[in-house]
């Protein structure tokens, strides 16, 4: 009898916990849904071709995101171009070549910590090093280098995880056939881990996409009526344009901001979608 009550209690607890967890998930989704509905109902009417093709303007109904969007895409492109090779090679060193000594552990802890540093700190660092000492000024290059620093820890951690997931038997097979460490890494490990690496890189980009604070510090501008023609040109990005619009007195600019947010969300969504697609594709192709 006593034993049965106990199991009943446990069962009730089990059920309660399940509903509690469902409630938590539901709350998250509800908040997200509310935000999305609010933004979309405010901004969707503003999205048309001229919103994408117009330059910034004092008239909210003529103001567009052309330069901001191009600025953002070129900035992210340059960021990936810088962060990806360095991040991947650093991860390969740490995972494949580095010995597990005290120094390696310190480096590891620091990389993990760097991922948690507030982004504005990277901005201040970038301002001093890239804008002033290196003399790149308020250029898209200085912004990309700063963002590259910001996403580097994420790229390194993701790449290491992907490399770690490659079974040792593959490496041993390669060594067994007389391949050197470099040949093994290049021809076996990296191709096998490539899906995971790309996923990590794309996810880190979708973090960088919404960054405003470090870019304001390194000198991204607001009114830029021309698209950047080279990495040393000045630029503006979508989040900064949105930030500026939300602080304007006229209601029309708030609508513009909502429309800008929709575009930004669509971009993030697209990037995450590509990441998932790549992961699935590579998982099907590479089977260990």
């Amino acid at each position: 009898m006593i034993k049965r009550i106990k199991t009943n209690k446990a069962r009730i607890k089990d059920q309660l916990f399940k509903y509690f967890a469902m409630l938590c998930t539901g709350l998250c989704l509800l908040v997200l849904a509310l935000l999305l509905i609010d933004i979309i109902s405010k901004g969707i009417g503003r999205i048309n071709w001229s919103f994408f093709s117009n330059l910034p303007s004092r008239h909210f109904d003529e103001s567009g995101i052309y330069t901001a969007l191009i600025g953002m895409v070129s900035l992210l492109f340059l960021t990936v171009l810088i962060a990806m090779p360095i991040g991947i090679m650093a991860a390969i060193y740490l995972q494949e070549y580095g010995t597990k000594n005290r120094f390696a552990r310190i480096v590891e802890i620091n990389i993990a910590n760097l991922a948690g540093v507030p982004s504005v700190i990277y901005g201040i660092l970038g301002l001093q090093i890239f804008v002033r000492i290196a003399g790149f000024g308020n250029s898209i290059l200085a912004g990309a280098l700063t963002l590259a620093l910001l996403i580097m820890p994420i790229v390194i951690v993701a790449t290491r995880e992907a490399i770690k997931a490659v079974p040792n038997s593959l490496r041993e097979a390669s060594f067994g056939m007389g391949a050197t460490k470099w040949q093994t890494t290049r021809n076996v490990v990296i191709p096998a881990a490539w899906g995971g690496i790309l996923t990590g890189v794309i996810l880190s980009v979708s973090r960088a996409i919404g960054e405003t604070a470090p870019l304001i510090v390194v000198g991204a501008l607001v009114y830029v009526p021309f698209i950047p023609e080279g990495p040393l040109d000045q630029y503006t990005t979508l989040p900064i344009q949105i930030f500026n619009w939300t602080s304007r007195p006229q209601q029309g600019f708030i609508t513009n901001a909502a429309a800008g947010i929709i575009v930004l969300l669509a971009f993030t969504f697209l990037l995450n979608g590509i990441a998932i697609w790549l992961r699935n594709r590579w998982n099907n192709k590479v089977k260990f």
């Binding site: 004092r58 501008l221 009114y223 080279g230 040393l232 007195p249 209601q251």
Partner: protein
Amino acid sequence: MRYKSNMLIKNVIYYFAILILSSCFKEYKGKIKIDGSSSVYPLTEAVAEEFREKASDIKVMVGVSGTGGGFKKFLRGEIDISNASRPISKSEIEQAQKNGIRFIEIPVSYDGMAIVVSPKNSFVDYITVAELKKMWSPESQGKITKWNQVRATWPDLPLNLYGAGTSSGTYDYFTLAINGKAKASRGDYTASEDDNVLVQGVASDPNGLGYFGLVYYEENKNKLKLVPVKATDDAEAIFPNDSTVQFGIYQPLTRPEFIYVNIESAKKPYMHEFIKFYLENAEVLAKEIGYTPLPPQVYKLSYSRFRNEKAGSLFEKRSVVGVNLTEALTENQ
């Protein structure tokens, strides 16, 4: 498959290499770099937009890093023009002398600061500067918390204050005009750099009182109640509006906004052209974006001052509060 993606990456790298090279050799006819206050930004943006029609080969770009942030860049010689919602400070002038930067100060518009309460508030008919000081002075922190402590005839209701954040030029000017010293204010109020947040706060709080730029009141008239201000106890209560602000009747809460031009940059012909264009069109454009223009002769006086390359600040020796710009500029041609 791998081969193809390698080719793609290579092509992209070539593309960027060419871009980098070509941008090094690219010649612009002229670039004008502007940065600074967010409250001067809309006017400068409007001028830059119109100037684009006139001179499309001059690239004008405007940033918003705040009045202080703008001056920092300006004093390092990184930008040509600094947007400022307050005059340059003493320490900034010293910095300018140290760095060998000479500048021309040009007032471009007025900003009236509106004192607002909720439309549900029926008892506030006007407010005096002394009462505002009682509300906002640093000594009131934690002590003045009810409306009846400010004026005995007001009810025994909590007093909730909304005002500018500490890094904005609005904060600097308001504290100087009301409390007599820039940046001297109580800290226990809802502060935001974003005036739309303050609008929302006051609109939804029947016991609230806030201050922000007049244009934010004009755009939210139905949600707010404007309070007229008496400069002294027996003065007339003045509402801020286009004419009381433009002709300096709404005092002491009318502040001029400025652009500061680097004298070295000003020597370039296209910069001269831009400033001339700015001063010729500021009046119309300010009205269009909901700002208050200066009296027309002030723009003319400023232009002749600019043409004479008259360096330095008018406010090294005088206070900006209650200044008559026409007189001050005439004296300092």
